[in-house]
């Protein structure tokens, strides 16, 4: 009887909006495995991602905290972001993969596998975000990692294999640490919530966090921070990201690694809230800020030495991920707000840039920086879009990252003034490196085209994303701002 009601409850959860958001990609992945027609596959891919996004948009109006799924505002926000990114990238990948197939880098069976993996990865990420169970989140991330490793290995080049193995080893250790941390977190929660599912439920943990065993909570924090920090690409745990982004097929590195970063950072944010609420636990801010700063500084300086476009932007991703982590570590509603917004806007900008980079690499036939130049002169629209994206990522106005960096920097001055010095240094160095590379890529001597291009339609997603970055940064609608502020206030 009891079991039965549990089962029906779970089923009801599965057919609600959050459940469908998770189920649609998985169903699409299963279906796509059987679709042989490449064009149809691409359409289904795009349609499924769009459907997931539309369903995710309903999440803010259907908050649930059930046995399986959790759709609190934070999860809803991140799910909307992730599914939006999935949608734009799916549509971008339609034209992109066509060119890849034309260029002979992909064949039909592999394209089928690619589409299936895309949806599976998306589904795993959404599950990790929307699950109401610490262990399920971990499992979903593990699955997403495995999918990502497979997808990176898809091009079947030596580089791809090496990148995949590297990603597997480093992420495997990270996942192991996260798993142990998850176990210990449960252990910490047992005295407060008793043995059983509640001690693993994201929705129940925060309220009871004050009564957790502080020593266990500390232990769990260390392992979870390093475990999920690996997935968030924080220095010194970032080693897998540049390789996998450089070697993997571009839409995969745009969606999968980009969103895995976000999921991991959100977990770290939630964890921070737990430690804050417990009086006996250590202060979680400092280690998180230290990792964030290390990421920013190391990445900012090493940007100057990158010779591969995709690796360059992987470095920039790590730097900005570090900034977001730093903001989360800083704490307080204002910094958390800025961190969340930074995360979202950077994800959008990064996707736009990577889409442009993908198109440029296809045109150029190689991804060495020295081989790409004068985009603005030869391909005006592409060059302009890429330049806009890079300006945005450098933290210059009028794009939204300027706003978030303003908030983060001023928040740092307010709360931890001395840390503002390395933060500003890192941001300036990173911005400068970005400007330097912008000159080389968009201006500079033009390079001849050696491959087919994707055409203007493939740039539409990038335009949409950049427009969003512009609007959300400078003229965020009041209700959205209030919603986001509420999220930040609820998850300190």
């Amino acid at each position: 009887m009891n079991e039965l009601s549990l089962l029906t409850g779970m089923l009801r959860e599965l057919v609600s909006a959050p459940g469908l958001v998770v189920l649609v990609p998985f169903a699409a992945a299963a279906g796509l495995g059987f679709v042989t027609d490449a064009r149809l596959g691409a359409w289904i891919n795009g349609a499924a991602a769009t459907l997931a996004f539309l369903l995710a948009c309903a999440l803010p109006w259907e908050p649930i905290a059930g046995l399986l799924l959790l759709a609190d505002p934070l999860a809803a926000f991140m799910a909307i972001l992730t599914s939006f990114l999935g949608m734009t990238t799916a549509w971008f990948s339609q034209g992109y993969m066509q060119v890849e197939v034309q260029a002979g880098r992909f064949d039909a069976p592999r394209l089928r596998l690619y589409h299936a993996l895309f949806q599976a990865g998306l589904g795993c990420m959404l599950l990790a975000l929307l699950s109401n169970n610490v262990a399920v989140t971990w499992g979903a991330l593990e699955a997403a990692t495995l999918v990502s490793v497979l997808a990176v290995a898809l091009p079947r080049t030596e580089d791809a294999a090496r990148a995949a193995s590297r990603q597997f080893v480093l992420c495997g250790v990270g996942l192991a640490m996260a798993c142990f941390g998850t176990t210990v977190l449960y252990l910490a929660a047992v005295p407060a919530l008793g043995a059983g599912v509640p001690a693993m439920s994201w929705s129940r943990l925060p309220a009871a966090a004050a009564a957790f065993n502080p020593a266990m909570l500390n232990l769990a924090f260390v392992f979870l921070l390093l475990g999920y920090g690996t997935k968030a690409g924080l220095v010194p745990l970032h080693g897998w990201l540049p390789d996998s982004q450089a070697a993997g097929p571009l839409p995969v590195s745009a969606v999968l690694s980009g969103s895995i970063l976000n999921v991991a950072l959100v977990v770290i944010l939630r964890l921070r809230g737990l430690l804050d609420a417990n009086p006996g636990a250590i202060a979680p801010g400092l280690p998180i800020m230290a990792l964030g700063l290390a990421s920013l500084l190391l990445a900012a300086f090493s940007l100057g030495a990158q010779r591969d476009v995709k690796r360059f932007f992987a470095g920039s991703t790590i730097a900005q991920s570090g900034v977001a982590a730093f903001a989360f570590g800083l704490g307080g509603a204002g910094a958390t707000f800025a961190g969340l917004l930074h995360l979202a806007l950077h994800t959008l900008t990064r996707a736009a840039i990577l889409q442009c980079v993908g198109a440029a690499v296809q045109l150029n036939g190689g991804q060495r920086c020295a081989g790409i130049g004068g985009l603005l002169l030869r391909h005006r629209a592409l060059g302009l879009t890429l330049a806009a994206g890079m300006v945005a990522v450098a933290g210059l106005p009028p794009f939204g990252l300027f706003t978030t960096l303003f908030l983060i920097l001023s928040g740092t001055v307010d709360r931890a003034p001395w840390l503002a010095v390395p933060l500003a240094l890192g941001l300036a160095v990173a911005g400068w490196a970005m400007a330097e590379r912008l000159l080389a890529l968009c201006l500079g001597p033009p390079t001849p085209d050696r491959g087919p291009g994707t055409g203007l339609p493939a740039l539409v997603p990038a335009w949409v994303q950049l427009a969003l970055v512009l609007v959300l940064g400078l003229a965020m609608p009041g209700p959205v701002a209030a919603w986001l502020a509420a999220i930040a206030g609820a998850a300190p």
Binding site: N218, L297, A300, F301, P398, S410, V413, P417, G478
Partner: protein, 669 residues
Amino acid sequence: MAGVSAAVLTGFAVVVAALLGLGAASAVAPRRIAALGSLGACGVGFVLALAYLLAGAAPATLAVPLGLPGSWMTLALDGLSGFFLLVLSAVGAAAAAAALEADADATAPFLPVLLGAMALTLLAGDAFALVLGLELTSLAAGALVLMRHNDSAALLHIGVALPGAACLIAALALLAGGAGGDFRFAAIRAHPPEGWPAVFVLVLALLGAGAKAGLVPLHGWLARLLVAAPMHVSALMSGAMTKVALYVLVRLLFDLSGPAQPGWWGAPLLVLGAAGAVLGALRANMADDIKAVLAGATVGSVGLIVIGLGLALAARGADLSTLAALALGGAMLTALAHGLFGSLLFLGAGAVHQGAGSRSLVRLGGLIHRMPVTTAAVLVGAASLAALPPSAGFAGQWMLFQAVLGGPRIDGFGLQTLVCVVAGLLALSAALSAAAAVRLLGVAFLGRPRSPRASAAEEAGQTMRTILIALAVASGLVGLFPGGVLSLAEPALRRLVSAGMADRAGLLAVAPQADLPGYSALGIALILALSAGLVVWLVRARAVPGHRFGPVWDGGFGPPPAWLPFGDPLTQYGGASFAQPLQRVLGAALLRARETVDMPSPGETRPARIAVAMEDPAERALFGPLAALRPRLVVLADRCWLPGIRRTLAVVFAVLVFLLTVVAIVEQF
């Protein structure tokens, strides 16, 4: 009254929106509309600013639905921003009109963006709008140069702008922190900083705004950017962009930090300003490119203005508000004067470049014959640069001198000594500027052409001539009626140092103190005119009229060959030889100038040649090491970036064990 202010502010908001929109539109529409639209917008802005200042400049604020999430951006207008908007719109109108003359290229859309961004900075009523406008300014300025494929100048600019912005954000955050995190200026003003935060605000504001204004030692980028940019852009940057950055400095130090800051705040400004004034003027004497000469002069003028600001701060701290008003008024007058004559000179340099095909003093000369209007206009500008009465430059510097002379009234041995030294340096800078102005005019415009291209130079086009004449007339009017300009600055002075110049500055004369005689530009001009009339009358009455032309004795040089109709150009004094005395005495010490003289042995017919290489101390001591440090750090970071798998795992494990140990230790205590 308040209604006027609100209407003007709304008008300005519309103008800014129009300019930014124009930038976006002209990316696709015909590019000429960018210049035309900018001209119109600047015209409207000028009228609005003038009307606002004449109507008494009552403060007004306006909230617009943009800006930080969850809050509306505040635009504000008061006497200070109104005055600088006047400068901006005047200079902007000239630059936009000159842009009509320049060939429209891909950079065209950024001109209205630059103008709009600067206006936004001036209109900012909260910290976010201020930084947004300033960063947008930097971006647009960088883009305007970038598109000309001058990468290093633009990169250097961005490299200074980014840390500068970070400093400003930090300063504003410190200020806002005192006001409970409210970024609006009104709130900050109500809670001025005290103690250490105030000191940090001073340092950060100097670093941030100083970097954007080209204040020594952060001036290297400005000199390069001004040389690299197209002429109308250089004019705009020199005339307006540096002033906008100085406005930010004034806003932060005078307005937002509150009136209760100590007098020693002025000391760093005095030191940096004096250093900038001398170094800039000296650079202007050493450079060969006429734009580099003007860039040096720009750095010098920024230094002058900052001296005025420093004195005003020091005097305000000592409760000498009349002296503070004198100093601040002098700074603002100098800002307006340099805005006008600086852009005039840069546009003149552009006309020379177009007409004579070169900007190098080595290839110019004798342009007065072929480009009479340009020369006359540049003459007016150069007189201002040299601070000769009754030019605009003299009026500004006169006030600054008077403020310096009043400086010893501020107590404190250190400050009094500093003021005495600054007085000497101010005079040195003025004399050096005069030498630079004579050198620029004399070598480029007078004498004989040094290249065939210069001998066939063409006068600037009709539009350009009109702009030059208009700027010269405006500059002349400012010089003749400094009191009028000060009456426009009156609201700002009253607001910032709680004393004005109204009792001391009429249309006819400006005086340092209410009951004392002062400087009357009109009177000096009148006496000068009367004297000239007297001389002309005496000469007419006494001397033989008429004149004839003949060969001139040229120190022993033989008659020129037929293919050099103007004589061998190399027997003339050139830029390097003119500056040699200064270069040997000051240049060698301050700029590490080294000359290489190629002296022919007796009997050889080739000319002797002199070349001068110099090195700015700021580049040597500051930017050089930084530039050398970065690659090393980059190599280091790259080595740590992606170690092998095993080493990565080792680092991860080390971090894990470290954190665990820390946790274990913390738990034991």
